[in-house]
Amino acid sequence: MSSGQKKRNFQIEAFKHKVVVDPKYADKTWKILEHAIHEIYNHNASGLSFEELYRNAYNMVLHKFGEKLYSGLVSTMTFHLQTMSKSIEAAHGGSFLEELNSKWSDHNKALQMIRDILMYMDRTFIPSTHKTPVHELGLNLWRDNVVHSDKIQTRLLNTLLELILRERTGEVINRGLMRNIIKMLMDLGPSVYQEDFEKPFLEVSADFYRAESQEFIECSDCGDYLKKAERRLNEEIERVSHYLDVKSEAKITNVVEKEMIANHMLGLVHMENSGLVKMLLDDKFDDLGRMYNLFRRVSNGLSTIRDVMTSHIRDTGKQLVTDPEKSKNPVEFVECLLEKRDKYDKIISLAFGNDKTFQNALNSSFEYFINLNPRSPEYISLFVDDKLRKGLKGVKEEDIETILDKVMMLFRYLQEKDVFEKYYKQHLAKRLLSGKTVSDDAERSLIVKLKTECGYQFTSKLEGMFTDMKTSQDTMQGFYAAYGAELANGPTLVVQVLTTGSWPTQSSITCNLPSEMLSLCEKFRSFYLGTHTGRRLSWQTNMGTADLRATFGNGQKYELNVSTYQMCVLMLFNSSDSLNYREIEQATEIPSSDLKRCLQSLACVKGKNVLRKEPMSKDIGEDDAFSVNDKFTSKLRKVKIGTVVAQKESEPEKQETRQRVEEDRKPQIEAAIVRIMKSRRVLDHNNIIAEVTKQLQSRFLANPGEIKKRIESLIERDFLERDNADRRLYRYLA
């Protein structure tokens, strides 16, 4: 293997003798091949030798007769296809498609064999001469000679459309055949499918559904129409899956959507007695769901539903909150609101797929109409009061939570949350002091919810009230531990020490307590002030209650549960049999309006009239005389004598609360202005108004006029000044 050895190159020498080509060779060979093609088309291929035919075709290409071979193929195939075309044309009626289909499958089979024979041409001659490959050529020839032949093209289209129409009207057609024919069109290339079939199909469908929808809408109600439309849509989708190109699905559903839904949207939604409003009223979840799903398919569909729903909720809501009948009973009022809210919640979750935009529309509608009634905050608080007072007795804990959660939802809609707070405080105070709260846990749970919603400032005073209650219990224990022994024979005193400020402000009017009570109270005062120096105690006799043991004329003993005022009145009758109004007023010094109410409940309520009044009338007069009702009887040993209280605030009380709310808002607005100006230094009028409104939004809706007033007040007190040049600008003066 030395490197010096020379490599020898191999050479292949050409044949020494010349290959003699028969001048008739090409013609002869082609004849053989042509014959073979005829045989193939005549279903006579079994006698042919594939190997021989392949070799012939190979040789022809090799000897540069490719051109002859190719053109021969074209003309032979064309000949056969024309014959086929004739026989298809001749087919009558229903057999037309079958004939077409069978010829098509014949042609395909033939084409397969021919392509195999001519494989060498397909590989070498066709690419180098840029001719159409055999298979494709076969399809093209089929297209031009059969599908596009004058007598077939329109007939084919009409037959297809006719069959589809028949299927639409409920007939059963040969879907397999349809699938084959459509498949043929698709095989011939997407443009053939689209031009020869899809386009006219869509046009005809549009006409069909236009007419049909017109007919439907005239004779059926909205729900039925939607059912029909839905069925049609599903049919079309099914049709596509059975025998059309998948790409046609979007196109045909589009046609149905446009003709059956988009064009009739408003007519459907507003259809009398069966439109959207009616469905909402009747809770037609299925119909609503159908409408949602169908309308979702077209542009503006959902917004159409949403707008109609919104205006419907607003209108009915407005009717509800402004109905003076409903306002008579706050609990019922709130229950109606909750019912309405539940109803639409259910509709949105069941029919509208929990659509966020629908939920928002629902919320904004509620916010709109709840605030149309200025008493809504009061009523919601009264509702809570009712629930926490007695409504929840025996109710399971989860149920309490759901009710409270629902209340919170309404609370969120309120613009004047501070007004709610005011009332809530009043009602809570009454509940706590009268010992009528049913569940401490529920009370606290609601406060926690309010706290998460509005921050701790909102509830700090409410929580203070609970703390006071707890501390008072401990104080009373301490009191009785210290003085229990010496007080054993007297009445029992329970004092609740309320921190000023935490509780709703009460004008502190005291009455004259019976002497037994007075000394006890004094004892407590000295006990309390002994441990808490520097504090001041004042008695709120208008808020207390008392249990009395009373013996009536016939020796019957009862335990009377009364208010402190009522107790003061009743105790007077220990020393005298009969007293007139003025004497009672003088002795007790109870404010006259309270005294009248309290006497009314003692003397005028049937079954609880422990006092007798002269003259017997419903109202208390200044000259009336009262005596103990000897004939008083009751089935129960314990008699609870309620005070005649208006649960809902009376007009003047409402005004007063309103005024207090307005007063409380002033410092909050000022604080907001100062906060904003402190950080911004200079700001124009409109921006201040906007920012203040935004800051206070979580508590109430600040009135621009009021904000203006506060700004002026701050200018007067030199916190702000107007800019000298531009009076719209305010400057902060530090």
Binding site: H685, E712, E716, D718, R722, R727, R728
Partner: protein, 234 residues
């Protein structure tokens, strides 16, 4: 409260110091000026109260009658503005000197002659704003008082704006007398009324926008005016 009074007192102290220095420079330069000064002081003594050494309301009255103008004439207010007098009805010697010297008046006759000119000066647009505010402050008779009672306010308004904006002032005064929400006028409302007169077309009020920064009193005034109009139309 405290802040306001502090600022006011700052102004009081700084202004005289400045003029005093200017005075000393002048007096050094010219003997004639000194003579004038002497005569001004003499004139001051004529009206000043012997015990308090200030021109008190009595002195002002005497001055008015010598000038042959009414005490409530706007010219007296203008004179007070020129002197930068701090307290209504009183002139101190400093104020007197400052005012008369800038007017170059050392006799009653000269002073009388200067008054119409002075009135014109005050009504010039570049001075009027200052004068207008001064008039309000001047009328606050007690220390720490920040508002004028309505009656005084109306008179003062008539006095200083009555000529320029007769229609607005008349209408506004009529409004003030018909309402009961406001019992006093503060500085902010006072200055904004002037701006209102300058900016808002009257009586149609077309370019008035309640959403702008106007004080509420003007919102109410505009409301009231429109209501009056409706009543009149009906």
């Amino acid at each position: 409260m405290t802040r306001a009074s502090k600022r006011k007192s700052d102004n009081q102290t700084s202004a005289p110091v400045k003029t005093a220095r200017v005075d000393s420079v002048r007096s050094a330069s010219s003997k004639a000026a000194k003579k004038v000064e002497e005569r001004i002081d003499e004139l001051y003594k004529k009206y000043a109260n012997q015990s308090s050494h200030m021109i008190d309301p009595e002195g002002v009255e005497a001055l008015c009658s010598d000038l042959k103008v009414d005490c409530t004439d706007v010219r007296i207010l203008v004179l007070a503005w020129k002197m930068n007098a701090q307290k209504q009805g009183y002139f101190t010697q400093d104020e007197w000197r400052r005012g008369l010297k800038t007017l170059k008046a050392d006799t009653i006759t000269k002073l009388k002659k200067a008054l119409p000119e002075l009135e014109k000066e005050a009504s010039k647009s570049e001075n009027f704003d200052e004068f207008y505010k001064y008039a309000f402050r001047y009328c606050l008779t007690e220390d720490n008082k920040k508002c004028l009672d309505l009656e005084t306010g109306c008179i003062l308004l008539q006095l200083v704006l009555g000529v320029q904006y007769q229609a607005q002032v008349d209408s506004f005064i009529k409004f003030l007398k018909s309402q009961s929400d406001y019992k006093v006028i503060n500085m902010d409302q006072w200055t904004n009324f002037f701006r209102f007169c300058q900016e808002i077309s009257f009586p149609d009020l077309n370019n008035y926008d309640t959403n702008e920064a106007w004080p509420l009193i003007l919102d109410n005034f505009v409301d009231w005016t429109k209501r009056q109009e409706n009543v009149a139309n009906a």
